[in-house]
Amino acid sequence: MIDHLPIFLIITPLISAIFLAIFSLFAKAEKIQKITAFIGLFLPFFYLTLLYQKLSNGIIEYNIGGWTKPYAITLVIDDLTFTFAFITSIITFLSFIYSIKYMKNKDGKFYFFFLVMVSGLYGIFLTGDIFNLYVFFELTVVSSYILITYGDKKVSLKASFKYLVVGSLASFFFLFAIGLLYIKIGLLNIEYLSIHIHNIDTQTQIVIFSLFLGAIGIKAAIIPFHGWLVSAHSTAPSPISAILSGITVKTGVYIFIRIFALGFTLQNLNEMIMVLGAITALGGVIGALVEWDIKRLLAYHTISQIGFIIVGIGAFSTIGLAGGIYHVVNHAVFKGLLFLCAGAIIYRTGTKDIREHGIGKTMPVTLITYIIAALSISGVTPFNGAVSKSMIESSVYSYPIIWLILVFASIGTVAHFSKILYYSFIKSHKNLQKKKYQEVPLSMQIPMIILAFFCILLGVLPNLWLDNLILPASSSILSGYSVIQIKFLDPLHIIKEWIIVVLGLILLKVIIVRSKEIDKLRKLISKFNLNTCIFIMVTTLIFILIFLKIVN
């Protein structure tokens, strides 16, 4: 039975979804439905611990249907897959526990789509066949279109429709690239493709890579392709936002690592990707300047952090790639925690505008976990964001302009998160005298406390996580194993971090004083509807194609 674990990892959430559907035909079955969903989300932990022992012997492969290796659909588990599957199991399980009390509708259909989405996520990370990747992608993304509509009705329907159209466009670009790869090489297995891709002539490689970059850019929300993310992640219910920002956007990053590791023989790829990542990191922070809605702020910062990850991966050195993968893990943890905190505040106060919160000291658990998460995302030392951000920044020392843009993005991040801290928690609002807010229920506090604990654990013991989880992942992409030791409490980095924090607080003061001019900027940004977004995406894709043709 141990041999068949890869396929059981994908099927177990699906089987528990089917049992949930059976129980929904009877009446009054909510408790059994929740227990079924709990079992379906808890068993992958168990499988992953069994797989970790087996993984130390080598890469695990599993052919579906009994066919032989290049012709079958293979499920491949190597260390990169294990890292992503591990973070998926943690975030989805904790988000499920949070959603038991948060979701007010009492039917089981929400958990059905939740389980199907989780099954699709495991399928994306485990598969080794490029068309199977497309199929599992569609499974995940269709479930997330449905799950987004469980938010507030009017805005979430518009956001879901916009996401649907843009996501289908990304799938079509992906399929075109798969078709071109198939006709030149002949098989669809990812390992086989990476061996034979240098046989293709350069012109076709340019078209294939541009189409892949278009699809990945839409799914991972790099700046010209980001139009769908802010409205989709901010109008979804909070546990779904945590999974969407934490895991589903990272599937784009995972595909990007796999495609980049296929080994396209083109010039100047690293520089172009790092420039795109730097623009994304800065653009997310600029777009958040005008927002006063807490979930839209968090969604803009997701775009910014993805920019950091893309810069780290685009550098494609050992420290850059390890920093990028470590930042994926860290971002899933602290962004999930931030969305759960925002959900807790919205659950008690009922509004999303941070100028109307003013909770003060009446919700202590939310306050402490929010402060831990905000310090993590700003990159202050004992928490996990500091380690991965400093790894990414030290991989771009040889490109000073990109390093400077990343520093500006960090300053903006500090400014915005202190803005949320000031308005939502410190400044008392007049509602506070009218009714007393209590803390959220216990089943919503436990995931937040566990995620905050992970934030601290990932930051204080970086070498433990690097040796066992991150460096094997990056060395399965770059051949050659190298050892990195992080010096904890390095004084130069601490000085740099606190300079960034101080500059960020100065920027916050500027924002509060000059809020009227910034509101005029908001009218400029909010004119982007669906047609303009797609036009910008297609135009950027054509520019990337022309740039690559000129350079090669």
């Binding site: 068949h4 099927i11 089987i15 089917i18 559907a21 059976i22 035909l25 579906i64 249907g65 009994g66």
Partner: protein, 127 residues
């Protein structure tokens, strides 16, 4: 307001379209066709009757169609897992491909008819 011609022709054509759909499902592993294609043709036959005769009298079949869908998925996964139980990998070919075709055909048919029945509840009467 459907005319006499359409009601009569539908009643005559309905069994032939059903038979054609079943033929495409069953012969799917030897000639063009298969589970999905035959299922769509079966669904077209039933949807023709629903469009012509009004959807209200067919709303009572919705729980049965849901039940058929769930049974279909359970059977599919059981066949897959029986590949594991017999010592080889998941979904290995034990001569079960025609059975898989029939299960998929039934499932697609019930899924499409359910979609039509649910969407037609939102219909706006413009007279």
């Amino acid at each position: 307001m459907t005319s006499r011609i359409i009601l009569t022709v539908t009643r005559v054509l309905f069994p032939f379209i059903l038979l054609f759909g079943i033929y495409i499902i069953i012969f799917g592993h030897l000639s063009p066709g298969g589970g999905f294609q035959g299922g769509v043709i079966l669904a077209t036959a039933i949807m023709l009757v629903i469009v012509v005769y009004g959807h209200r009298r067919f709303q009572r079949f919705v729980p049965y169609l849901l039940f058929i869908e769930i049974i279909g998925v359970i059977l599919f996964i059981l066949i897959g897992v029986s590949g594991i139980a017999s010592g080889k990998q998941f979904l290995v070919n034990l001569g079960t491909i025609p059975l898989l075709n029939i299960i998929i055909g039934v499932k697609v048919f019930s899924g499409l008819v359910l979609m039509y029945l649910f969407l037609s509840k939102w219909e706006i009467k413009n007279d």
